[in-house]
């Protein structure tokens, strides 16, 4: 996954490296190129400074995000244990719709984590075109809004400014449960945090009331029918919180890696340009010397 995160920065590096080579060939050893190279060198240095700072910011945020993620895992896993014990399975109802909740965020500059999620969503949509989408975060909204705008029923913005809170998850879960359509199952797609450099889009299931009531081992729990809808709403909020927190941690770590790579590329480019700059300067001086000497020789003779 590291290579994917590095791709846009690499591409920019290749494009920029290709440019001066042709420039150098056409009007070599003139004052204009010297000044141009100097200007470019300066701007790359500035970019390096920016990416380095962003990396440091992302690193500190990553620590907090990871702590929030481990805490949120308790929420998600505890509520999942209930369904595992009850052996709940999604109902294969005819004509009933599935809802997909995509957990991305508002901010970019973090490699391919949003597009990876959009790709997974599109793959699912190809198999089941009659699926509704709820999208959290601007990034996936703009990506999926272009290709699958007809499937979207709700979109949320304002996610990813800070570590997601449980209040966020609750409010989203409320708004989702207020949707008029009765969904047979709700799938939440989020980026699973594997380690600091890798993540993958996965889905977790949030079950409908019917699915919970029909689960084979349901009698193990003493639940009144009346409380069932509460359980479902609460489980949805739990899963959402888990997905949001884990997605947030992935985003921060991806951003850290992307900025790390960008700084590295900028460093490489600075080295390259420094050498080019020195060579050009040397060439200019040599040229001048040659001119002076030939001039002197000519006037003497």
């Amino acid at each position: 996954m590291l290579s994917r995160a590095a791709r846009p920065a690499l591409r920019a590096g290749v494009a920029a490296a290709a440019r001066p080579a042709t420039l150098n060939a056409t009007n070599a050893a003139t004052y204009a190129t010297l000044r141009e190279i100097e200007g470019r060198l300066k701007s790359i240095r500035n970019i390096e400074k920016i990416t380095k700072t962003m990396k440091i910011v992302a690193s500190t945020k990553l620590n907090r995000a990871q702590r929030a993620m481990t805490e949120s895992r308790a929420y998600g896993q505890t509520s999942n244990t209930v369904f595992e014990q009850a052996e709940t399975k999604p109902v294969e109802g005819e004509g009933k719709k599935t809802l997909i909740v995509v957990c991305s965020s508002d901010k970019g500059l973090c490699g391919g984590i949003h597009s990876g999620m959009s790709r997974k969503t599109r793959k699912i949509l190809l198999e089941k075109p009659n699926t509704d989408l709820v999208i959290l975060g601007e990034k996936c909204k703009s990506q999926l809004g272009r290709s699958n705008g007809k499937n979207i029923v709700l979109s949320f913005a304002g996610i990813g400014k800070d570590v997601p809170t449980f209040a966020d998850a609750q409010a989203i879960a409320d708004q989702i449960s207020l949707l008029p359509t009765d969904y047979s199952s709700i799938q939440i797609i989020y980026n699973k945090f594997i380690n600091a450099t890798s993540y993958e889009p996965v889905e977790i299931e949030a079950f409908s009331e019917e699915a919970i009531a029909n689960s084979p081992n349901f009698s193990a729990f003493e639940i009144d029918d009346e409380v069932l809808s509460n359980l479902r709403e609460y489980a949805l909020a739990n899963s959402l919180y888990w997905a949001l927190a884990e997605g947030h941690a992935c985003e921060q770590s991806a951003r850290r890696n992307a900025m790390d790579n960008a700084s590295k590329n900028a460093g490489d480019m600075i080295n390259k340009f420094q050498i080019l700059f020195n060579r050009t300067r040397q060439a200019v001086i040599t040229g001048e010397l040659v001119e002076i000497i030939t001039g002197a020789a000519a006037s003497e003779g």
Partner: protein, 77 residues
């Protein structure tokens, strides 16, 4: 109905949010400031129809409005 909050049109999540807000507010001063940050929610949302994005609305106020509407239905039925 068994639950008073349900009759008032609240969802379980809303009920939990209100309850946790009360707990947070009754904390000590310095602990409360930290805890209240965990209860903040500032999201916006938009409904989509036929591939077009609707108006951006604040999620908190929309949830409250929806629940108030729900409350009316709960009493009439």
């Amino acid at each position: 109905m068994a639950f008073a909050w349900k009759a008032a049109g609240l969802t379980y999540n809303r009920y939990l949010a209100v309850a946790s807000r009360v707990v947070r507010r009754s904390l000590n001063e310095e602990k409360r400031l930290q805890a209240e940050r965990r209860g903040e929610m500032d999201l916006r949302f938009a409904k989509w129809e036929n591939g077009k994005q609707g108006e951006n609305k604040s999620l908190a106020s929309a949830n409250e409005a929806a629940m108030a509407e729900h409350a009316g239905q709960g009493q009439s039925s």
